[in-house]
């Protein structure tokens, strides 16, 4: 589903990601840990092909197709879907318009909007006046309507209260139960791990991928207890 081979990415001429090798198969959920500034968001944005995230070496493969050089919308059409951490307001464009663009099935739109308590947001300008939690729910809503095969989720639980995390978690869990779907999830709080069945995690520090493939809950507990410094020490030893 997603394969990164010897990937190097620069932002504003500075190398951020170094020699990343990562593979998520269909049905797989990978949780990405790492301290602030380690390059987690850069990784997701580079996969999506956003401007300013320059791949200097290596390959990004989505759904079996090399996407280096493809535009953002072409990658979206190949199945990649991103949840923005800070989505922009788009004045004059209503959530309903995007929903209809993404999905022709009005019943599905209504059902999902209800599930994510977004019925009243459909007629509002997208992200305009949305609270942090509403934005996240709206992002998840759009991704589900898009039917993305590869979910790139950048801190899906940040700014969301406990009650709404459980709503989002339930929707996400149901979505990812489909074995054709897979996800790469960045989390700081780890809350989302209570709702989804993620089997592997990986750790990004200083733009390099360490420790790939371990159980994410164990990894999270270890990070919580020992901090990322411990990871550095451990990495140094190995």
């Amino acid at each position: 589903m997603l394969e990164l081979k010897n990937l190097f990415v620069e932002v504003e001429n500075k190398p951020v990601l170094k020699n990343i090798n990562l593979s998520i198969s269909s049905g797989g959920i990978m949780v990405l840990f790492g301290p602030n500034g380690s390059g987690k968001s850069t990784l997701i944005k580079a996969v999506m092909g956003f401007e300013g995230y320059k791949v200097t070496k290596g390959e990004i493969i989505v759904n079996g197709k090399k996407v280096n050089g493809l535009s953002v919308d072409e990658r979206a059409k190949l199945g990649a879907g991103i949840m923005f951490q800070h989505p922009p307001k788009v004045r004059g464009v209503k959530l309903a318009q995007i929903s209809e663009y993404l999905c022709g099935d009005n019943n599905k739109i209504e059902r999902l909007a209800k599930e994510l308590s977004l019925e009243e947001h459909l007629e509002r300008d997208i992200n305009s006046g949305f609270s942090g939690g509403e934005m996240k729910r709206s992002e998840l809503f759009q991704l589900a309507l898009q039917g993305a095969d590869l979910l790139l989720l950048d801190e899906p639980e940040s700014g969301v209260d406990i009650e709404n995390i459980s709503i989002m978690g339930a929707v996400l869990n149901k979505y990812l139960a489909d074995k054709r779907k897979s996800a790469l999830i960045i989390t700081h709080t780890g809350y989302i791990l209570d709702y989804i069945k993620a089997k592997s995690g990986c750790l990004l520090i200083d733009g390099e991928l360490w420790c790939s493939g371990k159980n994410p809950k164990d990894m999270f507990e270890e990070i919580k207890e020992e901090g990322y410094e411990h990871c550095r020490e451990c990495h140094g030893k190995n």
Binding site: M48, F50, E51, S71, V72, D73, A76, K77, G81, I82, F84, P87, P88, V90, R91, G92, V93, K94, Q97, I98, Y101, L102, D125, Q142, Q146
Partner: protein, 367 residues
């Protein structure tokens, strides 16, 4: 009522052009119609009681007590106006009549190089209420033609006039509308203006004079500016009495042309409340928007405000929509459509829907 055989008098192609400025030839959704081609009035009739609609010269001849309105607004403001006009409409909505279906009027340019100069007078009498949708359009043949439209509006005590003007010109046409509205006590004048098609040059600065207490005015415009176009478009409200209110709202998108968006709120009485809002979106690097909002008062007890914002479509917005699968062009298009929001026009639902459909049709293939 006999159906108008417009096919015969205007031809299919020109009918479609007139329709693009809001003309409904079936008249099913209209209460009165007026159509002038160059200098010829092709038809003019009222389908509902309480409405008088006719060529201006006919009104001046037959309706002696209406003569006093002709030129009155311009004289009152010491403004000159061209005398050499030919045609134009006279519309009168009689005292106390409410006309729910819009009255339609269309001024059509047909001949090459023709200079159409019309003088319109619209009177909404005390307690009457009406919607007018008026379109200006040009035939394919009307190359380098010119349109001058003088309009005088009188909205009398407690009256309500909602006037929507749609310009559907083409790239070699110049237009000079000159409008003044006098609004009496407790009366409302609402002007909606839509211009989405190419044009060579439009200069207009309509004025509303609120001459009675609790009078209100509102000017709303949607402007799309194509390359090699100059649209110098504004609105002015003069508050002559206390407790009057007004609002001027405009949205301009430049695809390469120049837009000057003016607005002037001038208080010559106390306790006036008004707001001016101008938003511009410059899509093409060659485009230009110049917003000139003005507020004037000699009294402290007024509440006048304005906000103007001009910018381009941000890269983040495009990328955001692209990540949902839209091409950059599709994303740009949906943002422009959203920006040109018909909801800023003060229109009843049916008419809003109609204008929206017209907008969709016009914007399709525009960029």
């Amino acid at each position: 009522m006999v159906k108008i055989d417009t096919d015969k008098i205007l031809g299919k192609d020109d009918m479609a052009k007139a329709a693009s400025s809001g003309m409904d030839f079936t008249e099913k959704t209209r209460s009165a119609s007026f159509l002038q081609k160059d200098n010829d009035v092709l038809f003019s009739r009222s389908l509902q009681c309480g409405i008088e609609i006719m060529r201006i010269e006919e009104a001046l001849e037959k309706k002696k007590n209406m003569r006093k309105y002709y030129g009155k607004a311009f004289k009152a403001l010491n403004k000159e106006y061209p005398q050499n006009t030919n045609g134009g409409y006279f519309i009168r909505v009689k005292k106390g009549h409410t006309v729910e279906l819009p009255i339609q009027a269309c001024l059509f340019l047909k001949k090459q190089g023709f200079k159409q100069k019309v003088h319109n007078v619209i009177i909404v009498e005390a307690g009457a209420k009406a919607y007018i949708i008026t379109g200006c359009a040009a035939s394919r043949a009307a190359e380098e033609s010119f349109h001058l439209g003088i309009s005088e509006f009188y909205v009398q005590k407690g009256g309500y006039l909602n006037f929507t003007m749609i310009h559907s010109w083409k790239k070699d046409i110049s237009a000079r509308p000159m409008s003044i509205a006098f609004v009496d006590e407790n009366a409302s004048f609402i002007s909606n203006y839509v211009c989405l098609k190419p044009v060579k040059e439009i200069v207009m600065y309509p004025t509303a004079v609120l001459q009675g207490e609790h009078a209100r005015a509102s000017f709303n415009s949607l402007i799309l500016s194509h390359p090699k176009t100059l649209q110098d478009i504004g609105a002015r409200v003069i508050f002559q009495k206390e407790n009057t209110q007004a609002e001027i709202i405009s949205r301009a998108v430049s695809l390469g042309g120049k837009v000057v968006a003016r607005g002037d709120l001038k208080a010559v009485a106390k306790n006036v409340k008004a707001h001016l809002e101008c938003r511009g979106l410059v899509v093409s690097e060659r485009g230009a928007i110049h917003a000139i909002p003005e507020l004037e008062t000699v009294f402290r007890d007024v509440d006048l405000s304005h906000e103007a914002a001009i910018g381009k479509i941000s890269k983040e917005e495009i990328e955001y929509l692209s990540s949902r699968g839209m091409t950059a062009e599709e994303a740009q298009s949906i943002i422009i459509r959203g920006f040109m929001d018909v909801n800023i026009l003060a229109l009843p639902e049916a008419l809003k829907k109609e204008i929206k459909e017209l907008e969709e049709k016009t914007l399709k293939g525009s960029f």
